[in-house]
């Protein structure tokens, strides 16, 4: 058995840390969550040689050990707690060669924890172009560590990093910054009180508690009471600490780092002039958004039709090749259409995540934030709300999590509350099928309708934000600091990996719910209480015994479905939804899609395949669906009413759960659920009644 070394990969955002992680682990990774919170936890294995392998933890990016967000807080908690299973034996701090100074701030803090820390200077391939020279030997001596030059882009330096890691025991474990010099009185008192503790660890614990959240003290120290200062004076000390650290870092870099200022100015500045232009900047951004939505619709239709067709064929094949019986029915009518309802998403979600990853990795997203901040502030949002609102077009769950970057709670809360209005990928299959049903396939009516639905989503988000902004009282002042990273050509491998990772997570998570619901639905649809269900065959046969022209089998099936459990549920809510143009079958689909919107199509697929034994695709079945008076069910009015209902209603249990987690109360998700559903009802009602 090879010996395991636990390695923490640390670094600020935009240092290329994730690219480094992808190379180290050769994409052999596991992604999970930290218990109880939704911070992504990534770990992977790096084979060093026959005797040693490294378990690498890719920690969330952070600028320093002074926590500002849940993500940063997790890093601190893990690093402080020696008993944590993830507590590292050695840390690799990834730095950006063009902004070494700031990475060193974080590095000196890690050093203070007395964890052996290796400095990995990434993007070394840019040194020549930028005229940067580093005296590595000297830097190693000054920082009391090993320094490795890396380039994730060119895949260089990794062998050397491996050698350094294998010899990590030789890395001196000594801090290079003495925290006690920022206030000798305060710290010598602390030392007297806790002679056995590391002063810097105590200091982190104290400031973390004052600024952020209560840590479980017991995990870090056995003593549960120690003296603290007021939050304001702690903050002053932290600022003093940061300034002092920079004094030290500047001294170090003066001796070891030179940059030719003539070469430093760059192509990025020109790009900024265009992309941040007060007119072109916005035109380009909206152009990009249009391109993304166009591509989602255009490129996904062929694979989606293919998936739809294949699953239908599969059901058919199962019917004809497996012995008939309940199990076969469950598979062919419940499971396969249910799974098909998930898989059909893959093309759209993958395309969306592909573009989002490109925007993020290239550095363009920060420019969008910069452009949009002023405008969004009028709605009580922040420029940083752009990321949640745009990623909301993929899925509200990562979008709500992405609000963590917003410093101000008021802006963050408003963003969380309005993000579910943006058109998420789960709405797309619902829209896709309804658009195909009720919007004529002429010119670009269909893609314009989809575009319109996206605009309705964004519009609803902005309008609601504005209403909340005007009605909330409280702290309107806010901080806003955002890094504008240099432009980089995204690494295709990293982008594709992100796409794969996100799509897979989505399918697994959504798939579980959809699968469970399709099975429940199938059982409810194939069983029923009372005589009406059991004696369906007899009753219908008797009723139509004299009439030879009708399709007896279809009538029996329809009668059975109407009297099944699900039929009874559907019909009991029909009076409430009939004014919106929906019948009881749509009612069932609506009810079941309160768990997750994408269930809509799967539910209809399940209900309609129970309805008839003919193997047709769901679209044809829906076209043939009639009301009691013989008119088609899916008219333009019904279709629009249904689409708008999906545009406004919060039909997603996972969103409710994530909002509860992020706001730490049930109050907001419940308000959100009821008000969005109410809004959806009123709007669908008005649209249907006006168009009738």
């Amino acid at each position: 058995m090879p010996q395991k070394i636990k390695v923490a990969l640390l670094g600020s955002p935009n240092t290329g840390k994730t690219s480094v992680f992808n190379i180290l682990t050769k994409l052999n990774q596991k992604v999970g969550n930290y218990p109880g919170i939704t911070v992504e936890k990534k770990e992977g294995t790096w084979i060093l040689n026959r005797q040693f392998k490294a378990k690498v933890f890719d920690f969330p990016g952070c600028y320093s050990l002074n926590a500002n967000s849940i993500d940063e807080s997790i890093v601190i908690e893990t690093l402080l707690n020696k008993n944590d299973p993830d507590h590292p034996d050695v840390a690799i701090v990834v730095a950006d060669v063009e902004n070494l100074k700031r990475s060193l701030l974080f590095f000196t803090q890690i050093k203070g924890l007395k964890i052996p820390a290796i400095l990995a200077i990434n993007m070394a391939d840019r040194m020549k172009k930028k005229g940067i020279e580093i005296d590595l030997d000297r830097l190693e001596k000054e920082l009391n560590t090993k320094v490795v030059l890396l380039s994730a882009r060119r895949n260089t330096g990794f062998d050397q990093l491996k050698q350094v890691l294998l010899n990590h025991q030789q890395i001196p474990n000594k801090e290079i910054f003495d925290i006690s010099k920022i206030d000798s009185n305060y710290f010598s008192n602390l030392k007297k009180l806790f002679p056995k503790e590391s002063i810097y660890r105590l200091w982190l614990l104290i400031t973390q508690e004052a600024n952020f959240t209560k840590l479980k003290r017991k995990r870090v120290t056995d003593t549960s009471d120690f003296q603290t200062l007021s939050t304001a004076s702690l903050k002053k000390l932290q600022q003093k600490e940061t300034i002092q650290r920079y004094v030290l870092i500047n001294q170090v870099l003066k001796k070891t780092f030179t940059v030719n200022p003539l070469k430093a100015s760059s192509f990025g500045a020109t790009l900024d002039r265009i992309l941040l232009h007060k007119v072109f900047g916005y035109i380009i951004f909206f152009g990009i958004l249009m391109l993304i939505f166009e591509s989602i619709y255009d490129f996904s239709s062929i694979p989606m039709d293919f998936i739809d067709e294949s699953f239908s064929q599969l059901s058919h094949w199962i019917y004809s090749h497996l012995p008939s019986g309940n199990l076969t029915n469950l598979v062919a009518e419940g499971l396969i259409p249910g799974i098909g309802g998930v898989v059909i998403f893959v093309p759209q979600i993958a395309i969306l995540y592909f573009f989002l990853a490109l925007l993020e990795e290239s550095g363009y997203m920060s420019r969008v934030i910069f452009l949009m901040d002023r405008g969004l502030r009028k709605f009580g949002l922040s420029g940083k709300s752009v990321i949640p609102l745009v990623s909301g077009t993929a899925c509200a769950i990562p979008a709500v999590m992405a609000t963590r970057n917003i410093e101000n709670w008021r802006e963050r809360l408003i963003t969380i509350l309005v993000t579910p209005f943006t058109t998420c990928a789960a709405r797309l299959p619902v829209y896709a099928i309804l658009i195909a049903l009720v919007i004529p396939d002429k010119g670009s009516y269909q893609s314009l309708t989809l575009m319109g639905l996206y605009l309705v989503g964004f519009g609803a988000a902005l309008f609601t934000a504005w209403v909340l902004h005007k009605s909330f009282v409280g702290d309107k002042k806010s901080f806003f600091v955002i890094e504008m990273p240099s432009y980089k050509m995204p690494l295709l491998k990293d982008v594709l990996y992100t796409v794969w990772e996100k799509t897979r997570t989505f399918i697994v998570e959504a798939g579980k719910i959809i699968l469970a619901i399709s099975i429940i639905l199938w059982v409810l649809a194939t069983n029923g209480p009372g005589q009406n269900f059991k004696l369906a065959e007899e009753m219908i046969t008797n009723q139509y015994s004299s009439d030879q022209t009708i399709d007896l089998e279809a009538h029996i099936q329809a009668y059975k479905l109407e009297n099944s459990y699900i039929g009874l549920i559907g019909r009991s809510i029909e009076p409430a939804i009939a004014p919106l143009g929906f019948d009881w079958k749509i009612g069932i689909a609506l009810l079941s899609s309160f768990a997750a919107r994408e269930v809509f199509v799967g539910t209809l697929a399940t209900i309609y395949s129970v309805d008839s034994e003919k193997q047709e695709t769901i679209k044809i079945k829906m076209t043939n669906e009639k009301r009691a008076d013989g008119t088609p069910l899916f008219t333009l009015a019904t279709g629009l009413s249904l689409m708008l209902f999906y545009a406004f209603a919060l039909q997603c249990m996972s969103t409710v759960a994530i909002v509860k987690k992020e706001t730490k109360t049930w109050k907001w998700p419940i308000i959100q659920l009821f008000s969005m559903t109410f809004l959806a009802y009123v709007i669908s009602l008005s649209v249907f009644q006006l168009m009738q």
Binding site: Y63, S64, N66, N68, E98, N99, L100, K101, R102, L105, A232, K235, K236, Q238, Q239, T242, I243, Y246, A269, D272, R273, L276, K278, S366, I369, F370, L371, D373, R374, G383, E407, K477, S478, F479, F480, V481, I482, E483, M484, P485, S486
Partner: protein
């Protein structure tokens, strides 16, 4: 000495002092400290937020934050 938000586009200055209690720690961590050179690269439409180069960092802050930072123009 003027407050940072009054810098003209492309103008450089040196940070002289700031109202420490009104600034987030993150700004200081990003290199916004007295003595460092600061250049205003660009302003968003309606002059807010502003895009800065401080030391080696490129960052954007809002005008209300910039009002708490005072700079000395380079002669």
């Amino acid at each position: 000495m003027i407050s940072l938000d009054l810098l003209k586009k492309k103008q450089s200055a040196v940070i002289d002092q700031f109202k420490i209690e009104k600034l987030p720690l993150k700004l200081i961590e990003m290199g916004c400290l007295p003595g460092n050179e600061i250049t205003l690269l660009q302003r968003a439409p309606f002059k807010d937020p502003i895009y800065l180069k401080v030391d080696q960092s490129y960052l954007a802050i809002r005008r209300e934050t910039a009002k708490n930072i005072f700079v000395r123009l380079k002669s």
